[in-house]
């Protein structure tokens, strides 16, 4: 019901309505990035947006709906950035390299947003207390790696993988990218290019025959 409502709503949304929501989400991202999830009250977000608290409630059913937009928007932007870059490559090896490069570049260019996503997602729980972890979303983010690996195995340029060892490989690549995010948080002046080069090397070596 909820989902249906939302998609209905989105279709009915005026341009102005969309812009207002986008502005509020942007402020939510900034607020979470700067003061952290726990301190990011609607009051704080409203203050940053120079609007009244009520406006947020007007545009979003509740805080949850607002926070949900953060990973959603992130995923859309991420996909728009990553997909064409991978598709521009032919060989699985180059695709993997570009996947890593594009991800690190995207993270570097969207630090606040990435950070807000981490905070949001790691605090999101189902009603019974289980981490929701946007499982769908996480799987979606693994898909390109898995398809690259599959292609590379089929073409014989990668070493042999079972289905589950391919998954570990995919998860490890993904984890390495997330680890980069954390390191970037700890050390904002990190040499991103060098980090990228090293990750490419590591996963080139660990996937090749």
């Amino acid at each position: 019901m909820n989902k249906k409502n939302k998609s209905t709503k989105q279709k009915e949304m005026s341009f102005i309505e969309k812009a207002r929501r986008a502005q509020i989400v942007k402020c939510a991202i900034e607020t979470i990035a700067e003061v952290g999830y726990a301190q990011a009250s609607l009051g704080q977000i409203a203050k940053r947006a120079n609007i009244s608290k009520g406006v947020i409630s007007y545009h979003f059913a509740n805080k949850e709906e607002l926070l949900e937009q953060i990973p959603i928007e992130y995923y859309l932007a991420w996909q728009a950035y990553i997909t064409p870059r991978i598709e521009a490559q032919k060989s699985p090896k180059e695709k993997l390299q570009v996947y890593i490069e594009a991800n690190l570049a995207f993270i570097d260019e969207n630090r606040q947003h990435v950070f807000a996503v981490i905070e949001t997602v790691s605090n999101k729980r189902t009603d019974d207390g289980k981490l929701q972890f946007a499982a769908d979303h996480d799987e979606a983010i693994l898909l390109p790696i898995e398809s690259i690996l599959t292609q590379g195995i089929q073409e014989g340029v990668f070493r042999e993988f079972t289905k589950s060892s391919a998954r570990v490989m995919a998860l490890t690549i993904r984890s390495a990218i997330d680890g980069f995010t954390l390191e970037l948080t700890r050390n904002p002046h990190l040499d991103v290019q060098e980090y990228t080069r090293e990750l490419v090397t590591i996963f080139d070596k660990s996937t090749k025959k």
Copy 2:
């Protein structure tokens, strides 16, 4: 002064006092693991421990002091588990293998605690809103990997690393382990042994000459 007080206090603490504190910390870990950091109020923790809220305040100066124990205890247990296993190995290659194996086994055996540490640490902030991230602690956890890498480079069994590429390698190994934790959360029936074997393979390939 605060720190000094604490260590003084610890020396003065009776056995019973220590046991009570340990019990409360254990309940805090369980609570955070089950309902998440945000919902883990002192009331919730007390309810789980079947004690009154006041008892927690009696044994801990404040919530912060209680939550601090979670990573502290974890790190001590982790060290006690990991260190002898690594030291039992001679070659850097075997050490790296054992480091990965031991970490995954330790995580598997301490799922709740690991999880509570992640939640606690990722919600801990300094007064100005910056993630504290227990930087010291994080670095401490990298030390064994870095020293294994150094040894392997010197002995010529690993490929060449610059100082900073060794750091990326260390961070990637660490991230892979953290990624395992997340995957374990998502999928509790994960085949840990296989995951371990794959990670060992990946990092064997990516470090060797």
Copy 3:
């Protein structure tokens, strides 16, 4: 910064906002006067005002800011009452008489407020535990007496005073007025006019040549 904020805020405050704050302060005064400082919790004050506890927090940053208004408002009302009455007199002797008369009348007409001020001020402490006692405020309240005394000495209608003996005189007059307040609390049906007459006599005798 705090102070500046406050005055800025006050200028920005709408009429409704001011009225609401005034209403809450009024209820705080009544509550303190009736149940005493220690029992005057925000909950009690809210109950008396028939509003929710949150409303107070909405209009005042914290309890301290609310309680601060009590002496502030009192002092302003006191000044508005006393000053013109003194200025309407020419001779120091008459001024002193009117000062006493006006103060006792003002106290009589504002019993609850006076009482709340005493409670508030005598419970206000700096962070290091020292009584704050609104020293400025106390001194401000002595000023008119001191200036009357100075005038009377210069004009030769009062006996000779050194600087510090004039201060003792001023303090004693002030104390006598405060003593009247206490007596009024103990005995609400006190004959105020007679008390006034006696005080005027006492200080007429003790100041004249």
Copy 4:
């Protein structure tokens, strides 16, 4: 019932018991004088006395009973100090002078205790919220002044007083002494002798024919 209990108890009290109680009351006085009534929890008092909180509960039925001792002890000490000094004087004029001198000296020598009494008494309330103000105690403290005034009137050395104007006189003298206490709090280096001399002068002038 309560009162009876208490007097029964006092008769049964061993010397050791009395000493323990006296020590605790002394610490309560110090604590109130230093941190104020509101912060003077049993925990604070116990800490200062280097005993456990439970000890206080053991020796006193409740906090109220402990705090009651503060004005009681004060009054006894005050009486023991004041009475012989007044009785050593013959003339009402000298008695009044000595009353003022002795009070100021006593306050000066027992600053903490005086202060604790003020705090205690001004926070003491009956169950219906009325200030208790130790009415008995306050009247008791006025008695010597009133009897001095009566004597002076009868002997014709003081000006004429009606019954109620004599009371105002007594209250004013008492208030002046209390005002001295406050001034001493604000300004601990006050010249007590000069202050005494001035008060004596003021009340000599205001009582004489």
